[in-house]
């Protein structure tokens, strides 16, 4: 699961990125969600940083791929923060949706639930709701259309620039 560390305000992003030793996969600091280990960060000005962190966890629970690093889930939900910045209705949809999810989860909130099954049970309850549909629907494209994740699934993508697959294994199956 996505391990999140709520950083002390005032710790600069640069400093946090330097402190790889911090151990957490994600650090929420001021207006940023940061992964010190993998040296990437996501500025969140429209949505609350906690909301972004929960969205990332939710994205992983919707489309769990244990071999796919958090970074790609974070990139996949980034669009919500961009849309929220422009569209107050979208901002409300997401903030309210996450708040309700946290409420359902009880003390500790959604991210406080330790098992994927527990979180998925909550998601199943809201599966038909516009909030869930907006998050899931967007993810189908924003997660799987990242060229960087394709190799993780063994998908090689375009081959025209390399002359097609004609000399690159289009009929190399051996086990039949």
């Amino acid at each position: 699961m996505v391990t999140i560390y709520d950083g002390k305000p005032g710790l600069s992003r640069r400093e946090l990125l330097k402190r790889g030793s911090i151990g957490a996969l994600l650090v929420i600091s001021g207006s940023a969600v940061i992964s010190p280990e993998q040296a990437w960060g996501l500025e969140t000005s429209a949505l609350k940083p906690e909301t972004m962190a929960t969205l990332i966890q939710m994205a992983r629970d919707i489309y769990p791929h244990d071999q796919v690093p958090d970074k790609y889930y974070a990139i996949a939900v980034k669009g919500h923060h961009e849309t929220a910045a422009k569209d107050p209705a979208h901002k409300e949809l997401i903030e309210k949706g996450i708040a309700e999810l946290d409420k359902k989860a009880g003390k500790g909130g959604y991210r406080g639930l330790g098992w994927e099954e527990q979180r998925v049970a909550l998601l199943t309850e809201i599966e038909k709701a516009p909030f869930f549909q907006a998050v899931r629907g967007g993810l189908v494209v924003s997660l799987y259309n990242q060229k960087e994740v394709w190799p993780i699934f063994g998908y090689e993508g375009e081959s025209y620039s390399k002359g097609g697959y004609i000399a690159r294994g289009f009929s190399d199956i051996e086990w039949l």
Partner: protein
Amino acid sequence: MAASFDLKNDGVVVIIGSGAGGGTLGNELAQKGIDVVILEAGARHEYEDFINDEWDSFAQLAWKDKRTTSGDWRVAKDFPNLPAWIVKSVGGSTTHWAGASLRFQEHEFKTASTYGKLEGANLLDWPITLAEMEPYYAKAEAKMGVTGTNDWPRLPGNNNFKVLKAGADKLGYKECHTGNMAINSVERDDRNSCQQTGFCFQGCKWGAKWSTLYTEIPKGEATGHLEVRPNAMAIKINHDASGKVTGVVYADKDGKLQEQKARIVAVAGNSIESPRLLLNSQSAKFPHGLANSSGQVGKNYMRHTTGSVYAIFDKPVHMYRGTTMAGIIRDEARHDPSRGFVGGYEFETLSLGLPFMAAFLNPGGWGRSFTTALDHYDHMAGLWIVGEDMPREENRIMLHADEKDEHGMPIADVHFDDHPNDTAMRNHAYKQASALYDAVGATRTFPTPPYPSTHNLGTNRMSGKAEHGVVNKHGQTHDIKNLFVSDGSQFTTGAAENPTLTIVSLAIRQADYIAAQMSAKTI
């Protein structure tokens, strides 16, 4: 050099749409010295401009204008505004298509007499027979370079095909090969041979796959008798007091309305747009739309009984390498009611890239049951089911009651319910395909629901009698002599085979007819 005709030139044949039907008809007429203007709603992208990336290519080529849907098909729920996956671009859906080019079987031209009466199915015999079509099928195959005809070798089988073939052998299927594909297996017609790039659905960047975009259209243009006008969306067909059509009103690239005068109009916008245009051309004289005295315009919408089966194996397959439709099994295409349904279906290999697989494997699906399937993407093989579906009057294209597009034209509303025969056929095919993959050692199989329709048929159907359909055996409307339909909407019934070879054959045949009628001065 490509021609350029004046808007007031009323001697030209105006064709709406530049895809399989329109592009072919345009070239065939131009070769005979007849002046043609093709109005094409989409832009012109040459094959070097194609993008080998599923979503980017979709954005570049697909018809994305809003449509609405209803009915019991899953597409209406999962893709309510995308009933069909077709193209808006010069070349039409022949830019996206996979290239499978099969002749219909004899009985498929005579379904009413072969299948008998079937509750809820509006079956009708075609007014033409296989024997009449054969010479035109031969011309179309020669034009398109169909493998396995004219001594052109079939394509080599890729990994996905080899899995299919191994399963077919285990199940005792006899007719399994790499298909009859309008894809160059050898260099011909000044075009490359297939390099097994695997992006046939995104437009073939090698030009190995036949598309009107880089075959019919430039050949027609070279005669000096053909003008293709891109970004020209036809909105209404005008007629005179006698009921003859006189021109086509279209929105040009700036959205400005123009009228191109015409001696003859041929509609080839694919089976959703063609009836939409005829219905939208209603007038005081034709209050129910043009050529609609039968009331059949827009009805009998067919989309083939489809579905896919993907399977996961314990060892790698890499199905996405090489031609998308890399092989076929034809044994189930026969008519054999002992299986619990009339008509038949084909199995054809199919592969989607990871982005489309995520979108289409189980639309709306999520959680581990879904993601563990994708985790084994490179261990997957897959096939597509394409079978004959039953025409139904209720399955139809209508003008939306209040939603309009940017040009003020009512958008298309598409209603579709499966006939029980369609459902029985699909379930049979799911079972057979799962058995096929199990026989090769699949560890998991996925009966995947139909995608938005790639085959759209029947909405201006051909009939012997005027009261049963919209056009006669030449695609000429029963009601208006100088108005033709030249795309898959002419199909009386859908057959089990992919439609394009038949669309192209009909267009070649129609060109002969139009030329003869023009010289006889009957139109």
